[in-house]
């Protein structure tokens, strides 16, 4: 038994090392800006989807308003750079502002929206999203209206521009994945999952549900705001329909569901598969709706055939393959296990 666990850990560590190596060397091997562009977008979405998952995936509160934080982060960085006359690479120093703005919006947003559950929560997040999009259009003296805001010029060549943004996006993604894994294993994560399973029972055990949900919502919003800032600097501009894009929310949710909601690797896998596919379809087919139609079709296929996503479904298949032909271990057998064995195991658990 221990041997199997050790083998699994070694295999996981090796896979992780290979993935890390591939991620680091990707822009060196595929240096064409067209290819690194895919990498930058994919990593931005890895961060955004993982951030969404830390709140929605762990707590069960499905948010369709993440674009509020993404767009606000982008606008915050753009407006600050414009009004404070920040230029050159110093503009990256404004990224924490994007995070702070995201978190600052999440607190009042969450205080209202997190009082309700399930469908009502989803509807409220959509409503808030449209309020922010309308504000971006109408507060034109601040947001630039439909013209939007442009980013300061970065003195980089086309190749180095994409390459540097690739590594910035990779750093964001790695930090977010580490945060997500930390949250998953922490008491905070345990509370979030308890809320997802049954909020009333969690409250009954003394969990401060509102506080925990709000903290996760703000954390998720902060990271989304920060990565919105990165996206803005990469794209060099933001307008209301691009900053506050309903397709962004749908894509984030689809990527998480596709990979496996509530897992660490699922959202990463979902973003790495879907975002480049979406970019490829948009670039290949002149009809801009093709990618959206296929996105919708994929969503239906996921819901029908893999409602739990790739990672959990693959896990089930692997377990089934491993245990095929073996007799099922009845739970009663474990219950009847000698007490001494139980005591020995108790030490491990504690």
């Amino acid at each position: 038994m221990m041997g199997t666990v050790t083998r699994q850990r070694i295999a996981a560590a090796l896979a992780l090392a290979v993935l890390a190596g591939a991620a680091v060397t990707f822009p060196l091997v595929f240096s064409s800006p067209a290819t690194t562009n895919y990498g930058v977008y994919a990593l931005i979405f890895v961060t955004a989807v993982s951030a969404w998952n830390v709140f929605s995936g762990f707590s069960g509160y499905i948010s369709l308003g993440q674009a509020v934080f993404f767009g606000s982060g982008a606008y915050a960085v753009g407006i600050a750079a414009r009004d404070w006359h920040v230029s050159g690479v110093a503009v990256f120093g404004l990224l924490p502002l994007g995070a702070a703005v995201g978190a600052a919006i999440a607190v009042p947003f969450g205080l209202v929206a997190l009082r309700v559950r399930r469908h009502t929560f989803i509807v409220i997040t959509i409503a808030v999203f449209f309020i922010f999009q309308l504000m971006a259009y109408n507060l034109s003296s601040f947001t630039g209206g439909s013209v939007g805001v442009s980013a300061p010029f970065l003195p980089w060549t086309a190749t180095t521009f994409n390459e540097r943004f690739y590594y910035i996006a990779l750093a964001c993604a790695v930090v977010m994945i580490v945060i997500a894994a930390g949250v998953r294993r922490s008491r905070f994560g345990l509370q979030l999952r308890a809320i997802r399973d049954d909020e009333d029972r969690a409250r009954g055990l003394g969990v401060h549900a509102m506080r925990v949900k709000l903290a996760a919502f703000a954390l998720s919003a902060a990271v989304t705001g920060l990565v919105g800032g990165v996206w803005f600097l990469y794209l060099t501009q933001v307008q209301p329909p691009s900053g506050f894009d309903p397709l962004f929310d749908l894509s984030v949710v689809l990527m998480a569901f596709f990979g496996g909601v509530g897992t660490i690797s699922g959202p990463v896998l979902g973003a790495l598969i879907i975002e480049p596919a979406q970019l490829y379809l948009t670039a290949t087919y002149t009809n801009g709706y093709i990618s959206e139609i296929m996105l919708g079709a994929l969503f239906l296929a996921v819901v029908l055939f893999m409602p739990r996503g790739i990672i959990p479904t693959a896990g089930e298949w692997i377990t089934r393959l491993r245990t095929r032909g073996r007799p099922a271990v009845p739970a009663a057998a474990a219950a009847a296990a000698p007490q001494s064995a139980g005591k020995a195991a108790a030490g491990d658990t504690a």
Partner: protein, 246 residues
């Protein structure tokens, strides 16, 4: 065995408790003592107010009148979280585990209000000492356990707070007779480990046999109280509530 409130110090004293849902009163002036270190079993016909009594003690239902004194503190009007912090842990009638979490995670959540990691680890070890059989299922998802096993894990989770008073609301509900023995055995184990228990039980005979004190409720009031044996052997009560003479 002594009668309630006569020898053992009461850990909980309920006085003239009135509570109910909507406009009506379910509890109509309940007086009750729960002796420290014992098992007090509340029996009575359906609608007598047994589960309502549990809800009122644990703060899920706000009393309209009366007091619920736990070692000098009045619980009436406090929130479930405050009452939990005072050491009253309620294991509800229906299964209450988080089905998608492992057994260990479920038990850990029982100690959620404990800030100190070392204390949590010590309590966890102590819980597994009381219920060593649970260690065998520690990594299983709670939803994959049988009804009886889930009950034991619920008990273990409740013990994480080293409760001053453990409220068990019909722990035998929906369980097969063979499993019942294990569940009642577990209740005895917890009591022997020092936990004071207030038990509401439909299976009145089994509940009273297990208990040091018995209370019979009828129409939202305490009809009779005494030692578990006294209540069990009372011919009137036997005929009324226990299905004939015992």
């Amino acid at each position: 065995m002594t009668g309630p409130g006569t020898a053992a110090r009461p850990v909980l004293t309920i006085d003239n408790l009135v509570a109910g849902y909507g406009g009506g009163d379910v509890l109509r002036g309940v007086h009750l003592d729960v002796a420290e270190g014992g098992i007090t079993c509340v029996v009575g016909p359906n609608g007598a107010g047994k589960s309502t009594l549990m809800a009122a003690i644990s703060g899920l239902l706000r009393p309209r009148l009366g007091s619920i004194m736990l070692a000098g503190e009045n619980l009436a009007g406090r929130s479930p979280r405050q009452i939990l912090r005072l050491g009253v842990v309620h294991v509800p009638q229906n299964h209450s585990l988080f089905r998608d979490m492992t057994v260990t995670e479920n038990i850990e959540l029982g100690g959620y209000t404990l800030a100190d990691r070392a204390t949590r680890a010590r309590r966890m070890a102590a819980v597994f000492e009381v219920f060593p059989q649970i260690a065998g299922w520690a990594r299983q998802k709670a939803g994959s356990l049988s009804g009886g096993q889930q009950r034991l894990v619920e008990f273990a989770r409740a013990l994480m707070l080293e409760p001053r008073l453990l409220l068990l609301d019909e722990p035998s509900m929906g369980l097969a007779p063979r499993v019942l023995r294990d569940v009642f055995g577990a209740i005895r184990q917890m009591n022997q480990a020092g936990t004071t228990i207030l038990l509401v039980e439909q299976n009145a005979r089994a509940g009273l046999r297990l208990s040091s004190h018995g209370v019979v409720m009828e129409n939202g009031q305490v009809r009779l109280s005494g030692s578990g044996r006294e209540v069990l052997e009372n011919p009137e009560i036997g005929a009324l509530y226990l299905g004939g003479a015992v």
